[in-house]
């Protein structure tokens, strides 16, 4: 009974390692583990604790390598697009058709605190309704944001011409660039406290500039780093 339990644990560990250990030497590591496991079984040494220790260390190492890998950067970029773009679109439609809102929400709009607006339940109820009734392509047309995206194209191409630019260096630079309009707009609103009419275009730039540049960034990730997984 005990023998079969250990064999089952070993199979589970091998399955875990086959999926989570470092891809670069996964097979060799499992082979070594099997060899030592057989030797320990014959010597009647403590196998389960040893197996657990080996598996945990190998998985931690594998995940550390994965976090640094190009695949991880691509996944993060893709996830950002998947979550960020619909959220921005929803916000833009809501902002373009904003009617009666509570004082709290209005104050948040005037302060440019979009990160707090998206945490507000009233916003979500309204945004959902507005999107299903008043969605129009022209709401997404914003010249400063288009210019910001064109500038991103130029900067990215120049940065990627340098052979030393790794996927992570590119990603950090690109994400900082993408977040810059938000930071800039937020700072502008909080420094100069512009009139309500002038806050709208600033908010549009804060959101639409990332809306245009985020897909460009992901496009570069998948085209320029096409064959890089490590």
């Amino acid at each position: 009974m005990r023998k079969s339990n250990t064999a089952t644990i070993f199979k589970i560990m091998v399955w875990l390692l086959s999926n989570l250990a470092n891809r670069a030497y996964r097979d060799e590591l499992i082979g070594d583990l099997q060899e030592e496991y057989n030797a320990r079984k014959e010597a009647k040494a403590n196998t389960v604790a040893w197996l657990l220790h080996q598996t945990i260390v190998a998985i931690c190492d594998g995940q550390k390598a994965f976090i640094k890998s190009a695949t991880c950067a691509k996944l993060i970029g893709f996830a950002l697009c998947l979550i960020g773009l619909p959220m921005i679109a929803l916000f833009v439609v809501w902002l373009s058709n904003m009617g009666e809102v509570s004082d709290t929400l209005w104050q948040l709009v005037l302060a440019g605190e979009i990160h707090q607006i998206v945490a507000n339940t009233e916003y979500w109820t309204q945004a959902w309704y507005k999107t299903s009734h008043y969605l129009h392509v022209s709401m997404f047309f914003n010249i400063p944001s288009i210019l910001w995206a064109v500038l991103f194209l130029c900067v990215a191409i120049r940065l990627l011409k340098n052979a030393n630019t790794t996927i992570w260096v590119f990603s950090i630079a690109a994400l900082l660039y993408i977040l810059l309009p938000y930071g800039f707009g937020y700072m502008l609103i909080n420094t100069f406290s512009p009139a309500a009419k002038k806050v709208g275009p600033i908010l549009a730039f804060m959101m639409l500039a990332p809306f245009y540049t985020l897909p460009l960034y992901v496009m570069f990730l998948f085209t320029r780093f096409k064959n890089i997984r490590k």
Binding site: L29, G31, V57
Partner: protein, 112 residues
């Protein structure tokens, strides 16, 4: 070209590779380190060190044949490169220089 420096585990692993010669693969390296210096290095940590040293050009590796004893998985054999040997030599020289003129009494034994 600047001389590559070695971490403690890298140093130990390189010496293990030299001792094992053509038989230097994961399980054997781990076992040798355990027997010689009583250090239980996990296979994951060992492979991570070997991969890092390979990137630094200190070791090379080649796949062997798959065996049934290893569930049909091949061994990866490692060997020290010229750069690895130079790094070892440099590390030893550095330690020897620092030890020169020193003697240390610990546990009734003298180290010099």
């Amino acid at each position: 070209m600047s001389q590559k420096t070695l971490g403690e585990l890298e140093h130990i692993v390189l010496l293990a590779l030299l001792k094992l010669k053509s038989e230097a693969y994961g399980a054997a390296i781990r076992q040798l380190i355990l027997n010689e210096v009583n250090r239980d290095v996990a296979l994951g940590a060992l492979y991570s060190t070997l991969e890092r040293m390979q990137k630094k050009g200190l070791v090379t590796s080649a796949l062997g044949e798959a065996t049934a004893q290893r569930g049909g998985r091949a061994k990866r054999f490692f060997a020290v490169t010229g750069e690895g040997e130079a790094a070892l030599k440099h590390a030893k020289q550095t330690i020897d220089i620092m030890w020169k003129g020193l003697s240390l009494y610990t546990g009734g034994e003298q180290y010099a």
